[in-house]
Symmetry: C2
Subunit: 340 residues, 2 copies
DNA sequence: TGTTAGCACTCGTTTTAAGTGAGTGCTAAA
DNA sequence: TTTAGCACTCACTTAAAACGAGTGCTAACA
């Protein structure tokens, strides 16, 4: 379909455009080391590449710009894996050398590093909660009529919720209730919690305790709150530095999209395992028309999977990004290995 | 110093400029209902106001723009307290009607509302932690060699930290240690925790337990982490909608400033009780030259005080902002009343 | 004496026109 | 098949002209 020469030209065009964000003309290409033929020849080849839809003109007498099809081809076939610089490797390794024991910390840090090293915006999605199970429930009385319910999962995630304690309930009652709940609920997946609490447990408490209803209903409302999969976002303002986002309107609509946490989470979840790129229109959102989204998956010990993503203009340094995300997701997976 | 007529003109200029962000000319002023005299007269008066530094021209033949001194005067003397609309009052009340038991939730919500209703950026500073005392310490073992330390304060704040458990330590040892720690540390202010752990407690454990050192050192590092006063920020991207921030460079430097959490916290803390405005240069940061920062204080039951702030261009709807922040801080204070 | 109509003037903004240059497509010769 | 050459295109820059919102000043008026 494409001759070697055309491949070379396409590669040069995209490499150059990624660097400069300026349309690439035939003369510019002719000047490159690797190119031995004249600008006229290049013009002919470019006309061909354009006919086939790999590159476009911004106007009738401009240089060429990669089309989405061009980027797609580039990513699929022309990408020369880039070795990260010593500096970059060290930066990442140092970050992960620090002792981090909590999932949130690791993820937060990863998002930070990723956005810092790329100047793009990083988005990290935690693993599905489906599998997470309740490890322990604890209640700490705060005052006469309030207490805090603390819920710890087997993944070390902690959630807490304050709730009211009815006056007629004593501290010992509360303890008793917690004991019952712990006995019955340990190991139950969080998603089943809701159901269990409303049926089985409710029934059980009725038999074992007086005036449990009110306290239990409070506690239940505290525990049952949906646990949305959280998104960790880093370098949101990096978007502002990209020349393609000079237009504030675009920035605003992109921000609006990112802030739709649910939809973003769905999008990230929908990627398959490994590294994947969505270029421009391949993204489901209008505001991401001229964006690319690179996603990579990481793993937790117990087969659970999360996603790290990088959002930038379609004109992205794909090869460096691929290497970075590869290394980073590996570090994350390593860190989590054996935790669960 | 200023005649009534001048006051009126100054007021009209500022009111109009706040609305339109455009320099206000004499004809525009003359068209207002309240103004009965001609544009020529207004021009004379404006020349006077300019001599006194209350207004400025953007160039020699432009309309007038309020100077910082003008805003300051406006805020101090011309502000007619604005009644909030039914709609606004209801919005706020509804938000606070929802049962919220945690400090974080209330603050988060407040920041959200504030930025949403104003289209400015809201920043909320929690109370000083000086007074917060440790309520209870809990440890939940996760696996053979890891556990989570959970620290609950008397204000219902929960912090948690995972740590390693050395192999030679058994579950019962851990429990024992926690018991000792709880006995000794309940009621201790968080700020003293560090010191206590390193002296007294260390000593005590040495006498009561074998090979406590390693576990304890882990636990200590988990507990002692600094507890920085957190900033809750809402509507950070609202800044982009203000015409005075068309210039991306300004936006970026302002973001950079906001992200300096420590300095921002100091700034917010430095305000006195009640509502206060810092206009333009009155702010310590260069990036806030053309910003105003309105701060208001809220109270927690136990004499602790926090600050809510609103950051926008100097051209702010001061009277509405004042009313809003007044109402909001009151709602917050009410919500917290009796919690502690 | 304070107020106002009138007018010349200022200066940022918009419009128009001309000029520039990077880049193209096509043709014809090597 | 490749390339030199050339006419052509069109965004971008620059300069000049036209516009208009707004001013300060002056002189007349109540």
């Amino acid at each position: 379909m494409l001759t070697d020469r055309q491949l070379l030209i396409l590669q040069v065009i995209i490499d150059d455009f990624i660097l400069t964000a300026q349309p690439v003309g035939s003369r510019t290409i002719a000047k490159k080391e690797a190119v031995t033929f004249s600008s006229a020849t290049i013009r002919n080849e470019m006309a061909d590449l354009e006919d086939q839809g790999f590159i476009e003109k911004t106007h009738s007498s401009s240089g060429r710009v990669p089309s989405e099809k061009g980027y797609r081809f580039y990513v699929d076939h022309l990408l020369s894996p880039l070795r990260l610089s010593r500096q970059e490797i060290v930066t990442i390794r140092d970050a992960f050398n620090e002792k981090m024991m909590e999932f949130e910390r690791v993820v937060q840090k990863s998002a930070g590093i990723l956005s810092e090293m790329t100047n793009y915006t990083s988005i990290i999605l935690g693993p599905e909660v489906f599998e997470t199970k309740l490890k322990q429930l604890q209640i700490v009385p705060l005052s006469e009529h309030s207490a805090i319910a603390i819920l710890v999962t087997d993944t070390g995630h902690v959630e807490h919720r304050a709730f009211n304690v009815p006056v007629e309930m004593k501290g010992t009652d509360l303890e008793k209730m917690v004991n019952i709940l712990n006995q019955r609920l340990q190991g139950v997946p969080l998603v089943k919690l809701h159901e269990k609490l409303y049926t089985e447990i409710n029934e059980m408490l009725r038999h074992h305790m007086d005036h449990h209803e009110e306290a239990f209903s409070y506690l239940r409302s505290a525990l049952v709150e949906d646990h949305p999969t959280k998104l960790y976002i880093g370098g949101k303002t990096n978007i502002l530095m990209q020349p393609e986002f000079r237009d504030l309107e675009k920035v605003r609509s992109l921000y609006a999209t990112i802030e739709q946490e649910n939809e973003m989470a769905d999008l990230l979840r929908s990627g398959q395992e490994g590294i994947q790129v969505r270029i421009g229109q391949e993204n489901p959102f209008d505001s991401m028309q001229n964006c690319s989204l690179i996603t990579a998956t990481y793993h937790l010990g117990n087969d659970q999977m999360g996603t790290i993503a990088l959002l930038g203009p379609t004109r992205m340094e794909y090869n460096r990004m691929f290497s970075l995300m590869h290394v980073l997701s590996k570090h994350m997976t390593n860190t989590f290995r054996g935790w669960y």
